[in-house]
């Protein structure tokens, strides 16, 4: 291989890297290590549970909320109680310790995103912002919340795009 060829290859690699940095694809990051391997797929796709069965506050609070341990145990006292992951869950319950779930979806802290407005008044389906989560064995964030992406939806639905709608 000539020196020119090596140089152009390096330039190509550099370009590819720069492009990757500048235009990230919407592919998901590696799933985080969660304390319990909770599967959205099993609960939502296989057993057809409504999202808000567990995330009860989505319709009335800014945050959708993570279900309490008591909520998990409501079913898992009996259902699949012998599975190793459910045993872990039962151990937390026995020790009365909360589960330290690792955050999956991140939104910049300077943005105000009230779930209840989207869910109760906008009737925006959960999967619009959390695409593919219903088929994840371990949940990952597939959608980055860039301002352009938010605004496209806001414009399309004819809702406010004032700065202080989100940046308050």
């Amino acid at each position: 291989m000539t020196r020119n060829a090596i140089a152009s290859l390096l330039a190509l690699v550099a370009l590819a890297l720069a492009l990757a940095v500048l235009f990230p694809t919407h592919s998901a990051a590696a799933p985080p290590e969660q304390p319990i391997r909770y599967s959205h797929k099993v609960h939502v796709t296989d057993y057809k549970l409504d999202c808000r069965f567990c995330h009860v506050y989505a319709a009335k609070s800014a945050s959708a909320g993570i279900p309490s341990l008591a909520k998990c145990m409501m079913c898992h006292r009996t259902i699949a109680a012998e599975r190793p992951e459910i045993r872990k869950l039962a151990q937390y319950w026995k020790e009365k310790k909360p589960i330290p779930w690792v955050r999956v979806t991140e939104l910049q802290e300077y943005t105000y995103f009230p779930h209840f407005r989207m869910v109760s008044y906008g009737k925006v389906p959960c999967l619009t912002c959390h695409p593919g989560i219903d088929r994840d064995d371990i949940a990952v964030q597939r959608q980055e919340f860039g301002m352009g992406w938010c605004l496209t939806c806001h414009r399309g639905r004819g809702v406010s795009i004032d700065c202080w709608t989100c940046h308050i």
Partner: protein, 731 residues
């Protein structure tokens, strides 16, 4: 040493950290509840109605609960006593709830008795100790059990009373340094009713107050404050006028149209001077008809004679009397400083005479006596136990102290915020006597001067974590029962006193178990109110049962011919040559009788007159200060024949000359780091003397001397005494 360059480096690093500290990423983990609190909704506030127990006024409160935590206390708008308002002490209830020094585990003495050294023990062990003690006392001498508490009301009091009765001990003593014995005796003498009245301040046209600091302390400051606001501005009729007589310009006096400084203990003579003018000039129909009163000796109490005793001018008395006579309905009130002199009943009866001469008894804008018993008739003889106990309990406390000293008690149960080791005069030697009781058990949230003397301390929940009920001593027509409920899940390992008593009674068995037949205090309350034909759930949501229609007021049997109160002089201990000034003590607006001193919000609340924070001071008038060569901010030793302390001088521009005034509440030796070692305790200057007719404590009954002393530091104030704003004091 830090040089300039070093300082800049450190400063730069700090600034950098400050800039980027805020850019931390969102928390990495999301930790939900194991079991969410009841009615919990993420991000949504819930308001729970309950009752404030920061002072005995019994205001209704609503508490904002956000994500399982109490965040803010406000007044309950439905409650007849405070109508949505709340004072600083009530607001500070949150700090009692979250206090770092609050007891969360039972404590067992771990050192010499009285040392205040404890170690934590589990509840099982604590209850076993309590039960072993109770069982052996009941076996051998049930009458040697003493219960010393603050005055309790509602079913909490019923439980305690039944427990002691069934146990077989008559020694249930309630101590309130600001009890209303003198008011009760004077009301009996003047109106023939031994009860606390309702004052219709909102409806009156002319209000006379005799040392009644009703806007800041006393029976129900928030209720009176709200009513006063309506009298002054928020009503479509005439704006009421307010004249205040008293030894010092308090916040209440500062709100008056006129303040007339009278010598301590002469309030009754000022009132008789006004009565004299009313009768002489026939200013009201009742006064015109009071010939008997005139001949019985009222003619001697001329404004000139009253002026001579009180130190105000006869002309002022005449002007006030004519205005009072011409502006009816008028109302005369007296407060704690007039009541807690040796001649308290005389002072208050003389003030009562003004209400009789004004003919306002039982009328709007006047004084009335509602029937507070109505709601609890089904309890028969026990009904009185549920109502506010207005007495100070001083004779019983003195008796108990004497018995303790003689070794008559084998076990003492202590509870409540009135802290006798702090609030009783030192000459009673309460501490020494209490330590002669072999077993002392306290129910407490904090280790104050009294609870520190215990052998066993059982931690109780704060009022924000407890079930309860309450009947306020003023502010309703006998138709308001306040219901208390936990506004948060208790987050320390506490048990309420009635719950412990109910459990103890069950274990003792026999008559005790039969007298307290409930599983818990909540069950006791639920059963009691279930029979009243109300929706208890709804009532608790509203904060109580408020019918809105006043109960039938009691007849006032002696409305016909008022009697002339027997004139009595106030007495002050100490030789005037050695102790030239008369001591006037008053409860602090923030710290009350001293119970608020452990809450930093109340410590840093500037006194409305002195604007001082975090410690106490002694007030003298400008002439008195000049005569003693004292200036504002000087340190002095204040000595009475009974004790001495050091304080800074505050030259008060409006106080009767020859008087030294001190706020009560400061001067704790224990009670935690926010309360301890902040100046001397003025209770320690007081004699053990009593009001002559009622045997209530006579706080305004000693003389003091002030001697200039070097003291470290300064009194921190927000306002310069001469009135300029010193911004360096504020910023």
């Amino acid at each position: 040493m830090l040089n300039r360059r070093g300082f800049l480096k450190v400063g730069g690093a700090t600034a950098f950290a400050a800039l980027f500290g805020g850019c931390e990423r969102l928390p990495k983990t999301l930790v939900p509840f194991v079991v969410p609190p009841e009615n919990y909704a993420l991000g949504e506030s819930l308001w729970y109605a309950s009752v404030c127990r920061q002072c005995p006024a019994g205001c209704g409160i609503v508490v904002r609960n956000s994500e399982g935590r109490a965040k803010k206390i406000e007044g309950n708008p439905l409650h007849p006593v405070n109508r949505g308002k709340l004072c600083a002490r009530g607001q500070a209830g949150l700090q009692a709830l979250y206090h770092p020094e609050r007891l969360g585990k039972p404590l067992k003495l771990d050192g010499p008795r009285g040392s205040g050294k404890f170690r934590e023990i589990p509840w099982e062990e604590a209850l076993r100790l309590l039960m072993t003690g109770l069982a052996s006392v009941r076996e051998e001498a049930p009458g040697s059990l003493l219960m010393l508490s603050e005055p309790m009301r509602g079913h909490r009091n019923l439980v305690s009373a039944r427990f002691m009765k069934a146990f077989g001990s008559p020694h249930r003593v309630a101590w309130d340094p600001f009890g209303q014995d003198v008011h009760l005796a004077a009301n009996e003498a003047a109106y023939g009713v031994r009860d606390l009245p309702e004052y219709d301040i909102a409806g009156t046209r002319y209000l006379l107050s005799f040392s009644g600091d009703f806007l800041e302390t006393g029976l129900s400051p928030v209720h009176f404050g709200h009513a006063y606001g309506r009298m002054r501005a928020a009503r479509p009729t005439v704006r009421g006028k307010f004249v205040h007589f008293g030894p010092r310009l308090s916040m209440t006096a500062a709100s008056a149209d006129a303040f007339l400084p009278v010598a301590p203990g002469t309030e009754g003579f000022a009132a008789l001077g006004i009565a004299h003018v009313m009768v002489r000039e026939k200013l009201t129909p009742e006064a015109a008809g009071a010939v008997g009163l005139w001949n019985a000796g009222l003619k001697e109490f001329t404004p000139e004679a009253a002026g001579e005793r009180t130190g105000i001018s006869a002309a002022d008395i005449e002007v006030v009397a004519r205005e009072f006579g011409a502006n009816q309905p008028g109302l005369a009130m007296a407060g704690d400083a007039a009541a807690s002199c040796a001649n308290g009943v005389f002072n208050l009866s003389a003030v009562g005479l003004l209400n009789l001469l004004a003919g306002n008894v039982g009328k709007p804008g006047g004084i009335s006596f509602p029937d507070r018993l109505a709601a609890f008739r089904k309890y028969g003889a026990e009904a009185k136990l549920l109502l506010p106990a207005a007495e100070s309990g001083y004779p019983a406390v003195r008796d108990a102290v004497e018995r303790m000293g003689k070794g008559a008690f084998r076990m003492a149960l202590l509870s409540g915020a009135t802290n006798p080791a702090f609030t009783l005069p030192p000459s009673l030697n309460f501490e020494e006597a209490l330590l002669k009781v072999p077993t002392i058990v306290s129910f407490a949230s904090f280790l104050d001067e009294t609870t520190s003397l215990s052998d066993l301390v059982l931690p109780v929940p704060t009022f924000l974590e407890e079930w309860g009920d309450d009947i306020a001593p003023a502010g309703h027509g006998g138709d308001a029962i306040t219901l208390g409920q936990p506004v948060v899940t208790p987050f320390r390992d506490t048990r309420s006193m009635p719950d412990v008593l109910i459990a103890a009674a069950r274990e003792l068995g026999g008559p005790a178990a039969a007298a307290l037949p409930w599983g818990s205090f909540r069950e006791c309350l639920d059963k009691a109110y279930a029979g009243m034909g109300i929706d208890l759930e709804e009532a608790r949501r509203n904060g109580g049962i408020f019918s809105g229609k006043a109960g039938a007021s009691r007849p006032t049997p002696k409305a016909g011919s008022p009697a002339l109160p027997k004139a009595a002089e106030a007495a002050f201990a100490g030789d005037p040559a050695r102790y030239p000034l008369v001591l006037h003590v008053y409860p602090s607006i923030a710290l009350s009788d001293g119970r608020g001193a452990n809450l930093p919000w109340l410590q840093e609340l500037p006194d409305p007159i002195a604007t001082a924070v975090w410690r106490n001071w002694v007030e003298v008038g400008p002439k008195t200060a000049a005569a003693l060569a004292l200036s504002d901010g000087d340190g002095v030793t204040v000595s009475s024949p009974f004790g001495s302390l050091q304080a800074f001088v505050f030259v008060h521009p409006a106080i009767a000359e020859g008087v030294a005034a001190m706020p009560l509440g400061q001067g704790h030796t224990r009670y935690g780091k926010y309360a301890a070692d902040r100046g001397g305790n003025p209770y320690a200057l007081l004699p053990a003397s009593v009001e002559s007719a009622t045997k209530a404590p006579a706080r305004q009954s000693t003389r003091v001397s002030l001697v200039k002393t070097r003291m470290k530091g300064a009194l921190v104030r927000t306002v310069h005494p001469e009135g300029q704003w010193l911004y360096e004091n504020i910023l």
